[in-house]
């Protein structure tokens, strides 16, 4: 497999793989993982139960609708939000839960110096923990989705079409990526902040700030950057709206939600807030359905954006970690 150890003829697994398999084994048997899976199951079961009832009630009206199976995940039945909406809300929490004590936890336990005295590189530790976290998240998300889809098939009595399955798989990959962004944020916090409780708070604070005040923040920043525009002037108003949109695009949460919308609704043909001319065009457009490929094309920038944020956090955490002293 990998290079043999110096002169000893030992077959070595790369360091990150050793770290990842230990971390994954420890994670999967942890109370933390059990709680998060329960949370996810709850987030899945309630909306799907409510949605499937609503869909059956409206079965007559809905019978002609395309992508009926996907509606199971995307519609809510008041006051229960949709499955997708709930996942969007708790996804960051999952990422944070698996990463907030990655490095400072090792420090606090007194295992960091011992671990690094064995023949692995420091980035093996970061890489291994990241891979293990992402794998644990993947297992949880895919597992819960399978259960939900199974229950949906039984309750609705509809078999999803291959196109719908494709969309769901793509949405799962997108969700894992989005959770990965928060895993990256949390790991960066665990490198930057000495105490695990503090780094958890930092990451959760960032999550709340972005998810509760994200839109507000974008409006405020846009107001600062472009003060005193005249709302009566269409040009200026459009410019301002576009600035706001650009600013909210920095927020991974809104990027994820837009991409989710496009993936799970074949009828969505654009994910930007339209300008006046585009709005006119859209209102005159004959409703069409996009293929999965076309939907993916629309959200490609979103995917790349999320990937960039994740990689940036990840790279930042190991650049900082590499320069840190082993002793706190």
């Amino acid at each position: 497999m990998a290079a043999a150890g110096a002169g000893s003829g030992r077959v070595r697994r790369p360091g990150w793989m050793v770290v990842a398999s230990k971390e994954l084994a420890e994670t999967l048997t942890s109370v933390r993982f059990a709680i998060l899976v329960l949370l996810l199951v709850f987030a899945a079961a309630v909306p799907v139960y409510a949605a499937s009832g609503a869909i059956r009630d409206a079965a007559e009206a809905a019978s002609g609708e395309a992508a009926l199976f996907l509606a199971l995940f995307t519609i809510g039945a008041d006051p229960v939000p949709s499955f997708v909406g709930l996942v969007a809300f708790i996804a960051p929490l999952l990422g944070i839960a698996f990463g907030f004590d990655a490095i400072n936890g090792e420090r606090a336990q007194g295992t960091l110096a011992r671990l690094l005295s064995h023949p692995i590189y420091r980035d093996d530790l970061v890489n291994g923990k990241f891979v293990a976290g992402l794998a644990a998240i993947g297992i949880a998300v895919v597992g819960v989705m399978m259960i939900v889809a199974g229950v949906g098939i039984v309750r609705l009595g509809i078999i999803p079409s291959p196109g719908e399955v494709g969309r769901l798989v793509a949405w799962m990959a997108l969700t894992i990526l989005y959770i990965g962004v928060w895993l990256g944020v949390a790991m960066l916090a665990s490198v930057l902040v000495a105490r695990a409780a503090t780094s958890a708070l930092v990451a959760i604070g960032l999550w709340l700030a972005l998810s509760l005040f994200g839109v507000l923040l974008a409006q405020i920043v846009a107001g600062v950057l472009d003060p005193g525009f005249n709302p009566a002037d269409p040009e200026a108003a459009l410019g301002h709206a576009q600035l706001e949109q650009f600013l909210s695009a920095v927020n991974p949460g809104s990027v994820y939600q837009q991409a989710t919308l496009a993936l799970l609704n074949p009828g969505v043909t654009a994910v930007v807030v339209p300008g006046f001319a585009q709005a006119l065009q859209l209102s005159q457009q004959i409703p069409t359905e996009l293929s999965l490929q076309q939907s993916l094309l629309i959200i490609w920038p979103h995917i790349v954006g999320l990937l960039l944020v994740m990689v940036a956090c990840f790279v930042a955490s190991y650049v900082v970690f590499l320069r840190q002293e082993v002793r706190a």
């Binding site: 150890g5 110096a6 000893s8 030992r10 077959v11 070595r12 697994r13 360091g15 050793v18 770290v19 398999s21 230990k22 420890e26 048997t29 942890s30 336990q109 007194g110 295992t111 110096a113 011992r114 671990l115 690094l116 005295s117 064995h118 023949p119 692995i120 590189y121 002293e325 082993v326 002793r327």
Partner: protein, 262 residues
């Protein structure tokens, strides 16, 4: 390596003018020392003297500001992985993963060192018995006492069958009976395996009993080095014990420093 080294025993650990500065604070100041095979070398000094910093430089876990370090002839700053394959390290206040058992913790270490599974199991069984943890091997380490963790730490350092063992304050926070046991264990290991040991401590009595040679380390500088008898001679009275010699050498250094400052 200079040619004048030819014909003498190759040291396991060697530092020449090794220096580490954090900003304006010099943690280790031009340290020059050697540890030979089969020898227990004690780095004796108060907390904050720079002992741990020195050890981290020897393992390539922090880079020296100037000077050189050689461990098994390798520069740890550039060949850290090769050094870490052959050097066992017991850190100050060593920790383990509390949810894993002692055996599982050592298995992880064996994996990190690339030991094949079957070989690892044999090595782990042997080491657990040797450090007296065979009975507790399958209990989570969260239930271990400080002394048990320390002994597991020694087993952990030995998994890779090292040529050099570096022990940072190995007896801190262990009860007296545990200390006696641990020191006997270290002696036995040196006798059986011929490893060289570099040990740091601030406990005079233990260093005196255990170490072949002692270096007195104070505020980042090595004040004196040698057997306890050598140190006593350097302190001006060959009949002194280590404690008295240490006191005199440190006092002399303090005065020296005052003279320089004046």
């Amino acid at each position: 390596m200079p040619s004048e080294n030819a014909g003498r025993v190759e040291p396991l650990v060697e530092t020449i003018d090794l220096t580490k500065a954090y900003g304006s604070i010099t943690a280790v100041d031009a340290l020059t020392l050697r540890v030979l095979p089969g020898e227990i070398y004690g780095l004796l000094g108060p907390n904050g003297a720079g002992k741990t910093t020195t050890i981290l430089m020897l393992l390539g876990l922090t880079t020296p500001t100037s000077g050189t370090a050689r461990v098994l002839g390798l520069d740890p700053a550039h060949r850290a992985l090769d050094v870490k394959r052959r050097v066992g390290y017991l850190p100050d206040a060593v920790g383990f993963y509390g949810r894993l058992t002692g055996r599982e913790n050592l298995r992880y270490t064996a994996d990190l060192n690339g030991l094949p599974r079957d070989e690892a199991e044999a090595v782990i069984d042997d080491l657990l018995a040797r450090v007296g943890l065979a009975g507790a091997a399958d209990r989570p380490t969260s239930g271990y006492s400080r002394g048990m963790l320390q002994r597991l730490g020694i087993a952990d350092a030995l998994v890779k069958d090292p040529a050099v063992l570096i022990l940072d304050e190995p007896t801190t926070s262990i009860d007296p009976a545990g200390v006696v046991e641990l020191l006997a264990l270290i002696r036995r290991l040196v006798a059986e395996r011929g490893v060289g040991v570099l040990l740091s401590s601030h406990l005079l009595g233990q260093v005196e009993r255990l170490c072949d040679r002692v270096g007195i380390f104070w505020r980042g500088r090595l004040l004196a080095e040698g057997t306890v008898a050598d140190l006593a001679t350097q302190a001006g009275d060959p009949s002194l014990d280590l404690e008295a010699a240490y006191g005199r050498l440190v006092a002399a250094a303090t005065e020296g420093r005052r003279d320089v400052a004046a």
